[in-house]
């Protein structure tokens, strides 16, 4: 079998996007998925494309990505269901408003002018269903919403169109690193050979790293989403609330997606999530506190996509420091979807030895070399809702 330039293990958006841009540079790429592309978090998340109140370190990525989202038709031949809705975070009291003001000042200083403070009246105008007590908020108008399933489908199709190969239902059972690259043992395709291997296996990234002789502090998690029946238009922007776990938006088809980092039970043996209704109830209660329409809202379904999470809630991007030629791109739980096109470009460049548009300083795996120290000095903030409020 001929050796390819790169094998991507995991057919989520990180793998699909990275492989797509590499294939467009004329490289031979293979994407392997043990299920099918987009089956887990990439294809089933709330579809938020948010720059607002992103962690500072991720700002260059999200602004690059936003430009791509607005131009998706040209990049993958489908708009991926992206449409600009704006994203706002409401403040429930003056203290919360002060926090938002500080944040806006900070991003302005860094040269980003998209985060704008809005007053009570403007908030009411944009999201009339937000309850009376909210005093104002912060908004980014360029943010929006896309269809995760359509995005995965479109990236998959574009990758195939660019000469990339995708093998679904192809599980990796062993990887032999050698001097001349890797031999990847699979269930349905036998042995495959590649110069480089990318670990973009989401919830399975930790397990996969272990298989190759590396260690990654990536744990599987499932972030839940409540979905409602279609409703008349209630609001246009995504709405979140400062200091509380809630993301609330109305998709183009009229259904509401309500979430906020509420976790499902994870069953890695079967590779699935089970809804935890205590978490969903907590989510419903916050929504009930903040929106004046909750009695009319009918919940039709809930789900949670599996993804990987790191102890500091930041992704890992970069070469393994133990296995040469192995590249990790994982740990994006709850905030990776919007970043994926840009991450794909960066990863593709790095794999080809080119200088990426945006650096990966701070995202490398080295930061976990002394994991125990890190966890002790910086315990995981439980109130954190996927980087939304972890910046204070």
């Amino acid at each position: 079998m001929k050796k390819v330039d790169c094998i991507f293990i995991g057919g989520g958006l990180m793998g699909l996007a990275s492989a797509l841009f590499m294939a467009r540079d004329g490289k031979k790429v293979l994407v392997l998925d043990k299920d099918c592309t987009g089956k887990h978090a990439s294809g089933v998340n709330a579809g938020g494309v948010r720059s607002l109140k992103r962690d500072i370190a991720e700002l260059p990525y999200i602004h690059g990505a936003l430009a791509m989202w607005h131009n998706m038709e040209k990049i993958v031949g489908s708009d991926c269901g992206f449409y600009q809705t704006g994203y706002l975070i409401a403040a429930e009291d003056d203290q919360a408003m002060r926090e938002l003001e500080q944040r806006a000042a900070q991003t302005r200083e860094l040269g980003y002018d998209n985060e704008m403070l809005i007053g009570r009246d403007r908030l009411r105008e944009l999201a009339p269903i937000v309850r009376e007590h909210c005093v104002g908020g912060i908004m980014s108008v360029k943010d929006g919403h896309a269809s995760p399933a359509e995005t995965c489908r479109a990236f998959h199709a574009a990758l195939v169109g660019a000469g990339g190969v995708v093998h679904n239902h192809c599980e990796v059972v062993g990887i032999d690193p050698g001097e001349n690259g890797f031999c990847v043992h699979t269930t349905s395709q036998g042995k495959l050979y590649a110069e480089q291997v990318v670990n973009c296996a989401g919830a399975w990234a930790g397990k996969l790293a272990h298989m190759i002789g590396d260690t990654l502090p990536v744990e599987p998690v499932g972030a839940s989403v409540l979905v409602t029946a279609r409703m008349p238009r209630l609001l246009h922007p995504f709405v979140a609330v400062q200091g509380r776990k809630l993301w609330f938006n109305q998709a183009r088809n009229g259904t509401l997606l309500i979430c906020g980092g509420y976790l499902a039970d994870v069953d890695m043996e079967k590779g699935l999530t089970r809804m935890n209704f205590h978490e969903l109830q907590a989510c419903a209660k916050v929504a009930y506190d903040l929106f004046a329409v909750t009695d009319d809202i009918t919940i039709v379904r809930s789900w949670a996509g599996l993804d990987g999470e790191t102890p500091d809630h930041f992704p890992i991007i970069g070469y393994s420091n133990k296995v040469p030629g192995l590249f990790h791109v994982c740990g994006f739980s709850k905030h990776g979807f919007a970043l994926s096109p840009m991450v794909g470009q960066v990863v593709s460049a790095l794999l080809q030895g080119k200088k990426p548009e945006v650096g990966i300083a701070g995202f490398e795996v080295e930061r976990f070399d002394r994991v125990s120290d890190l966890v002790a000095s910086n315990p995981i903030p439980h109130e954190n809702c996927g980087n939304l409020s972890n910046y204070k």
């Binding site: 029946a229 279609r230 088809n253 009229g254 009695d295 009319d296 009918t298």
Partner: protein, 96 residues
């Protein structure tokens, strides 16, 4: 449209369907009130194209009989009994 087999039942429950008042027998379903006593052939319009829809399965699985009852949308008319003073509105929710 449906026709009652028995014309002699007591009609002792007062409801409204799309603001029009009806006297209907106690113990019947909201679907029966709409189709058999309210003179309607449909219950709602479809979400995407706004087509008229009526109950299809009558056993609670098809969700074609979704109506608004006392202000609450998406109620299955075939699984709710009429109550005196109930306000029923044929659901007209279309794509946001």
């Amino acid at each position: 449209m449906f026709i009652p087999v028995d014309q002699f039942e007591d009609r002792n429950v007062t409801i409204t369907i799309d603001k029009q008042e009806f006297q209907v027998p106690e113990g019947i379903s909201v679907a029966a009130a709409i189709l058999g006593h309210g003179g309607h052939a449909d219950c709602r319009c479809s979400f995407v194209h706004g087509e008229k829809r009526a109950p299809f399965c009558f056993i609670g699985v098809c969700h074609e009989c979704l109506v608004e009852i006392d202000g609450k949308p998406n109620q299955q008319a075939c699984l709710v009994l009429v109550r005196d003073g109930m306000h029923i509105v044929k659901q007209q929710v279309k794509e946001g």
